[in-house]
Symmetry: C2
Subunit: 266 residues, 2 copies
């Protein structure tokens, strides 16, 4: 799944370079839209959103979608795959800010402000739905409801950051790990076809990613996960994991995490 983990140059290709309007998946038949965590759109909204989409972008695991300090002419919605947002310190220490799941809207900061203050890297091969920055203007000018949705999404990602900050600032290593696994699992399961029973969480994160998310060292992260595995709370293998005892994990995290909110999908 994950190929090259090292940071490499931006390596991404437009799927349909010759035809701005053609695309693989028309919004109306977007598979994500069937999921019940996404609020239903009116036909009119759907038609409008459809006009915003200018193509798809496929990016390989390990390559960068955005680089801190640059500005971007594009906005994306993740169609499939995972990515993560992060920042660096001058000496190379890295902090992962959050993870981008299918349905997540990315690049708003870069479109709304002048430049990105963070980078984004693909965790797996990923397919993005591309909007022009200019389209965001059109959206604000013609669709109050969708504008509100955009703001809603921004508020939601702020909430997620709040949670994360609480975790990193005030929880112990064990609590942090438990909390992160729980949150990742929850977000993963929101997107799973409703039929399957909760099982393996296939997100290609390495323990280094976990460490950089939680503000811990790799070694200590490993030991903490090892403890969770010895206690049969989770299983971790090959960059994916499985929750064996969710109740216990939630106790350790000291917080169940709340219900997922129905959200818009742009």
């Amino acid at each position: 799944m994950q190929r090259a983990a090292s940071t490499e140059a931006i390596n991404a290709s437009m799927v349909n370079p010759k035809d701005g309007t053609a695309r693989q998946v028309p919004c109306e038949r977007c598979p994500l839209r069937k999921l019940k965590i996404f609020r239903p759109f009116t036909p009119e909204e759907l038609a409008f959103v459809s006009t915003l989409k200018t193509g798809e972008l496929r990016v390989e695991a390990g390559s960068m979608l955005f680089l801190e300090g640059t500005s971007s002419a594009h906005l994306y919605t993740v169609l499939s795959g995972w990515a993560f947002r992060y920042k660096f310190l001058p000496d190379g220490r890295r902090q992962i800010l959050n993870y981008c799941f299918p349905g997540d809207f990315i690049g708003l900061q870069g479109s709304v402000m002048n430049e990105m203050q963070h980078s984004i890297e693909a965790l797996s091969d990923i397919v993005l739905c591309v909007f022009q920055r200019e389209g965001l203007w059109r959206l604000f000018e013609t669709h109050a409801g969708l504008s509100f949705d955009v703001t809603w999404l921004a508020a939601r990602s702020e909430q997620i950051l709040d949670q994360q900050l609480l975790s990193v600032g005030r929880r112990s290593a064990l609590e942090r790990c438990a909390h992160l696994l729980l949150v990742l699992a929850q977000r993963f399961e929101e997107l799973a076809p409703p039929t399957r029973t909760p099982g393996k969480i296939r997100i290609p994160v390495t323990q280094q990613h976990v460490a950089d998310t939680l503000g811990l060292s790799l070694v200590h992260t490993n030991r903490t996960l090892a403890w969770l595995m010895r206690e049969r709370v989770v299983r971790w293998k090959e960059q994916e994991f499985e929750i064996l005892n969710r109740k216990r994990l939630a106790e350790l995290a000291g917080d169940e995490g709340g219900e997922p909110a129905v959200r818009p999908l742009l």
Copy 2:
């Protein structure tokens, strides 16, 4: 300045309970608007924003503006004074998420989502400009530019959180302290009358606040600040501080912090 630091019940009174439209400071003559960090509004925008404002709210230092888990019918803009946003863990550990300065728009999360996931407490006596939640809808329906501004503000607070998360996750105690003081000073000075030379920063934060912001213990925060004072980098007295050697502080923080962005004021 700060009276009661203990957490007390919500204690706030509407200034003009009998007359929804009357108010102390009409937006057109809002003193904050003269500052050059706030983008100039068109007369029309100003007139509209003016119709949103339904009054002012004065809150005493130490009392809560919002309580986690509740929902709020109001949005506020800080007119004067300071507050901070924070979250608790069940056992009482507290993490301060960010500080609210004059001109900051607060309560968006609570208005846009169903309920607040954080609390806000006044750091000093504070005056807020009150908007009804419903006014936000009107804004989105009639003013695309202002809607965009709201989104812009949301993106900005996300940026600030990103910074903070990087700090708490990956910086040492000394770096964190230096960084926080720098950021607070910068934000403070943006709001100072342009004449005054950079001097004392009068924000009534205790070392406990600093500790809870940075994810450190009170004792260690004290020792770290003591080190900065011994080195004559900053001075700290009575819940206010002064930067004596900004260059050194920036080196210690490992990041200058960038230019403040011109922003909208609602």
